[in-house]
C-alpha cells in the first residue's frame, strides 16, 4: 500500500501542487483546508485505521492555524509518532521555533520544489 501523506494548507495552489508532487513521488495524499478540517479528517482516518505517514501543515491558516493544529495533534497519543512538517513562507527563527515548540518535526519553506519535498519527506518517512 502506498504511504499516506496528509497536507493542510488554505491555499488551493499550494495544496494542488504539493499533492501533485507527492503523488508523482509515489505517495497517496489527503488534504484539508485548515486546522479544524484537518482534525476532522484525522479523526476519520483514525476510524478507518489509515493513519498518515506524515503531516505537512501550513502555519498561517484561517479558523485554526498551523501552530494550534500541531499542538492539538501532539496532544493525542495516537498521532504522536507521526512526523509533522511546518510549512512557512517566512524564515524567521521565531516562527520556526514556535512550530518546533508546538511539536513540529521540521519545517519546509515555500515555494517548495518537487525534489526538495520528496527528499525531505523521504528522510522522515523511510
Amino acid at each position: 500500500m502506498k504511504k499516506l501523506i496528509f497536507i493542510v494548507d488554505d491555499s488551493r495552489t499550494i495544496r494542488t501542487s504539493l499533492q501533485y508532487m507527492l503523488e508523482r513521488g509515489g505517495y497517496e495524499v489527503v488534504a484539508a483546508e485548515n486546522g479544524l478540517e484537518a482534525i476532522q479528517q484525522l479523526e476519520k482516518l483514525t476510524e478507518a485505521t489509515r493513519l498518515p505517514s506524515m503531516i505537512i501543515a501550513d502555519i498561517n491558516m484561517p479558523l485554526m492555524d498551523g501552530i494550534v493544529l500541531i499542538k492539538n495533534i501532539r496532544e493525542q497519543a495516537v498521532f504522536n509518532a507521526i512526523p509533522i512538517l511546518a510549512l512557512t513562507t517566512e524564515h524567521r527563527e521565531q516562527k520556526k521555533l514556535a512550530g518546533k515548540a508546538a511539536g513540529a518535526s521540521g519545517w519546509l519553506m515555500k515555494p517548495v520544489k518537487a525534489e526538495q519535498l520528496i527528499a525531505v519527506v523521504e528522510k522522515f518517512v523511510k
Binding site: S11, T13, I14, T16, N60, T89, H91
Partner: protein, 693 residues
C-alpha cells in the same frame, strides 16, 4: 498536471483573494481600525504570496510579500490603516491584477509602475525604522533565496554529519530514452547518498525533450569510485564526471553548472519556451472556466439518470404497443410528457451551472465609483443589494462595460460636489445604489444616484440646438429618454474627461440590445437618476411564440408579448401624422403589420383578418398583425451575426420542432423599424417634437 493547470488554479485563487482584499479595503475606508479586516487582508496577501511562489510568479510574490509586511506592521501598531496606506493598497491591488493578467510579462509601463510602487512601499517601510521586527533586510528580498538557503541548510546538515559532497555530471548517449535513463541514474545515486540538487530539475528530466546531460549535488559517504562505477554501469550513460567539493563551495560550483549547462544544451534551452506558452494558453482558457458548486452538478446527473430511465420506459412502451389500443397510446403520450418534463428540468439545471453571482462585478464598480469620486472631489457611499443574484457568466462579461459607463455617468454627472449638496440641504455624501434581482424571467439591474437628476432645460436646449426638437414643443418623459440615448447627444456642460463626450448612452443601449435586454431611465430633478436594465437570464435559450406570416414562420420571444387580440374592421384607425393606431382599453397603441416591416406577402393585410400580437418593450407597446399563431416553443438561439452581421429586426435563428430553420425576431429593433415604417422613411429622430418618439 501541466504547469498551465497549476497556473490556472493560482490565477483563480489569486483573483478570489484580490477580491477579498478589495472588499476589505472598501470596508476599512469606513472603519480603518477594524483588526479583523486587516487580518483578512493579511491572510489574502499571504495566500497570494505562497501561491505565486509555487506558480512561478516572482514579481507577484515579491509585491504581495511587501504588502504583507506593511499589514503585519499595521497589525502590530494597532492604530489602524491610514489613508496613504489605503491608497497604496488600492493601487497595489490594481497592479497585482495587471501582473496576473499579463502573466507577469509586464511591459515597460507595468514595469515602471511596479518600480514606482515598490519604491513607495520601501519608503513606507523605511519610515518605520529598522527596529521594526518585520523590516528585516534579508527577508523576502529574493524569493530564490528561500530555496538557496534551504539547499545550503541541507548541505550543512549533510557535511556536519560527516558526508562528503560530490558534484556529479552525467552525459547520456543521444537518441536514448533520456527520461528513463536519467531516472535510473537518480535512483542508483539515491541509493548511494542524498541528492541535494539536480539540474535540470527532475520535472524537466522526465520529459524526453530534455538535453543529454545533467548535474547533481550528492551527499554521501566516502567511496567516490563506487558511485562512478554504479552510474557508468547504467546502459546508455556516455560519461560520468565526479568531484568531491567543499560544502561551502558546492552551491557556487553547482550554480556554474546550471549556467553553463542550461544554455548550451539544445533541449534544455527549449524548455522555458513551452512553459511560457503554457502560461499564455492558461490565461486564454481561464476566461472560459468557472468553478461549479458540486451540488449543482449532482442535481444535473440525477436528472440525467431519471431521463435515461424515463426514456427506456418510452422505448419499451412503444415497442410493446405498436398498433395496440387507445389506452396504450395514451400511456405512451404520458410517458413522453414525463420525458419532456425531465428534459426541461435538466436544461434548467445545466443553465444554472453556468450562472455566477453578480457580486464580484459589483465589487469592481464599488471600487470604480470610489476612485472616480476621489478624482472629482466628491463624497459618496455605494449601497449594494442583490450581490448573490446569479446570471449567465457570458451576460456578466458583456454587461460589465455598459454598467461601468452608467456608474461613471452617475458619479460624474449625477452626484453634486459636497458643498453644492450641503447648499441644497442634502447630506454631503452622495449615494450610489447598485442592485440586482430576478423578475419575471429577467434579471433586473438598477444603477442609481441621489444627485441632481436630469436637467430637462439642458436637454431641451441641446435638442433645440441640434434641431431635434421644435422650439417650445412639449417634451415628454419618453422623448427625453430617446434623446439621451441618441448617438452624440450629451448634456454635460463641461467635458470632464470621465464621461460626457457625447459617446456613451447610445453605446450602452446598443450593448444591452445585443444581449436582448432593455434599458430605461428614471429621473427627478434634484433627487437623482436611476437606470433600470432588464436582461434575459441566459443568452442561449428563449421561450418563443411561433407565428406565421404568409409562407414565413417566425419566432417572437415570449417575454415581449403581453397579449394576443382579434379586432373587428374599423377598430384600427388612421391618425394624421401618427400612422395607424389601435385603441385598446383606452390606451392608444401604434399598429402595423409584420408583413410591412419585413416585406413578406401575407394572407391578410387588414387588421381584422389575422391576429394582433401586442408587443411590449419597456414602457412602449405596439400592435403587430400576423396571419396565425402556431404555438409556443422553447428554442436555442443560433447567432447569425458572425455570418451576416447584425440585421435589424432579427435576433438570430433557430431550428424548431419540425426541423425547419426559423428566424427569431428582435423586439427592440422591431419597434424602431415599425416607427421608421410609419414615418414613411423620415428619420425617426426628427419627430421627437411631437412626443411620439
Amino acid at each position: 498536471m501541466l504547469d498551465s493547470e497549476l497556473i490556472n488554479i493560482f490565477l483563480e485563487e489569486a483573483e478570489e483573494n484580490l477580491q477579498a482584499v478589495e472588499e476589505g479595503l472598501l470596508m476599512l475606508e469606513q472603519q480603518p481600525a477594524d483588526g479583523e479586516l486587516i487580518n483578512v487582508l493579511f491572510r489574502a496577501m499571504h495566500t497570494i504570496k505562497g501561491g505565486a511562489g509555487m506558480a512561478g510568479f516572482a514579481q507577484v510574490g515579491y509585491l504581495a510579500h511587501q504588502l504583507e509586511n506593511i499589514l503585519a506592521r499595521i497589525q502590530q501598531d494597532g492604530a489602524g490603516i491610514g489613508e496613504k496606506e489605503l491608497n497604496l493598497f488600492f493601487s497595489a491591488t490594481d497592479l497585482l491584477r495587471k501582473l496576473l493578467k499579463e502573466q507577469e510579462d509586464a511591459g515597460e509601463v507595468l514595469a515602471g509602475q511596479l518600480a514606482g510602487l515598490l519604491q513607495s512601499l520601501e519608503q513606507e517601510a523605511a519610515q518605520h525604522g529598522p527596529a521594526d521586527p518585520f523590516i528585516d533586510p534579508e527577508e523576502g528580498m529574493d524569493l530564490g533565496a528561500f530555496v538557496e538557503n534551504y539547499d545550503a541548510a541541507k548541505l550543512k546538515t549533510a557535511s556536519d554529519g560527516g558526508a562528503t559532497i560530490y558534484l556529479v555530471r552525467v552525459s547520456l548517449r543521444p537518441h536514448c530514452f533520456k527520461a528513463i535513463r536519467a531516472y535510473m541514474v537518480l535512483e542508483a545515486t539515491a541509493a548511494f547518498g542524498e541528492i541535494i540538487k539536480v539540474t535540470p530539475s527532475t520535472t524537466v528530466l522526465e520529459q524526453e525533450s530534455s538535453g543529454n546531460s545533467f548535474a547533481m549535488l550528492v551527499a554521501g559517504g566516502s567511496g567516490t569510485a563506487a558511485l562512478q562505477k554504479i552510474i557508468a554501469g547504467i546502459s546508455e550513460v556516455e560519461s560520468v564526471q565526479l568531484h568531491a567539493v567543499a560544502p561551502a563551495e558546492a552551491l557556487r560550483l553547482f550554480a556554474a553548472d546550471e549556467l553553463v549547462e542550461l544554455p548550451t544544451t539544445e533541449g534544455v534551452t527549449a524548455a522555458p519556451a513551452p512553459a511560457a506558452a503554457s502560461k499564455a494558453a492558461g490565461s486564454d482558457t481561464l476566461a472560459g472556466t468557472i468553478r461549479v458548486d458540486t451540488g449543482k452538478l449532482e442535481k444535473i446527473l440525477d436528472h440525467v439518470a431519471e431521463l435515461l430511465i424515463a426514456q427506456s420506459r418510452v422505448k419499451e412502451l412503444a415497442l410493446k404497443n405498436k398498433g395496440a389500443s387507445r389506452f396504450a397510446e395514451a400511456s405512451l403520450a404520458d410517458a413522453f410528457q414525463e420525458v419532456d418534463k425531465i428534459i426541461r428540468r435538466l436544461q434548467e439545471d445545466v443553465m444554472n451551472a453556468s450562472m455566477v453571482p453578480i457580486g464580484a462585478t459589483f465589487l469592481r464598480f464599488q471600487r470604480l465609483a470610489r476612485d472616480l469620486a476621489k478624482e472629482l472631489g466628491k463624497e459618496l457611499e455605494v449601497v449594494i443589494s442583490g450581490r448573490e443574484t446569479e446570471l449567465d457568466k457570458k451576460v456578466i462579461e458583456q454587461i460589465a462595460d455598459p454598467l461601468q459607463h452608467l456608474i461613471r455617468n452617475c458619479v460624474d454627472h449625477g452626484l453634486e460636489k459636497p458643498e453644492t449638496r450641503l447648499a441644497m440641504g442634502k447630506p454631503p455624501q452622495g449615494i450610489i445604489t447598485l442592485s440586482a434581482f430576478h423578475r419575471e424571467g429577467y434579471i433586473v439591474m438598477e444603477i442609481g444616484d441621489d444627485g441632481r437628476g436630469i436637467d430637462l432645460d439642458a436637454v431641451r436646449a441641446k435638442a433645440e440646438e441640434k434641431g431635434l426638437l421644435e422650439r417650445g414643443a412639449p417634451l415628454s418623459e419618453e422623448a427625453v429618454q430617446q434623446l439621451l440615448f441618441m448617438p452624440g447627444f450629451s448634456t454635460a456642460k463641461e467635458i470632464s474627461g470621465i464621461s460626457g463626450r457625447g459617446v456613451g448612452l447610445d453605446v450602452v443601449t446598443n450593448n444591452i440590445r445585443k444581449l436582448r435586454g432593455s434599458i430605461e431611465l428614471f429621473s427627478a430633478k434634484g433627487q437623482g437618476t436611476k437606470f433600470v436594465i432588464k436582461l434575459p437570464l441566459t443568452l442561449a435559450i428563449i421561450d418563443g411564440m411561433l407565428i406565421r406570416v404568409g409562407q414565413e414562420r417566425l419566432i417572437i420571444p415570449l417575454t415581449a408579448i403581453s397579449e394576443f387580440i382579434r379586432v373587428r374592421p374599423g377598430e384600427v384607425r388612421q391618425v394624421e401624422g401618427k400612422g395607424q393606431i389601435l385603441s385598446l382599453r383606452k390606451e392608444y397603441i401604434t399598429y402595423t403589420g409584420l408583413y410591412r416591416i419585413l416585406g413578406i406577402t401575407p394572407d391578410f393585410t387588414e387588421a381584422s383578418g389575422g391576429t394582433l400580437v401586442i408587443l411590449q418593450d419597456g414602457r412602449k407597446k405596439m400592435a403587430l398583425l400576423v396571419d396565425e399563431i402556431i404555438g409556443q416553443e422553447q428554442v436555442v438561439i443560433k447567432s447569425i451575426r458572425e455570418h451576416l452581421g447584425q440585421i435589424p429586426g432579427i435576433a438570430g435563428t433557430t431550428i424548431v420542432g419540425d426541423g425547419r430553420v426559423t428566424i427569431i425576431l428582435d423586439i427592440t429593433s422591431l419597434f424602431r423599424l415599425a416607427r421608421q415604417e410609419t414615418d414613411h422613411g423620415r428619420p425617426a429622430a426628427k419627430k421627437c417634437g411631437s412626443g411620439d418618439c
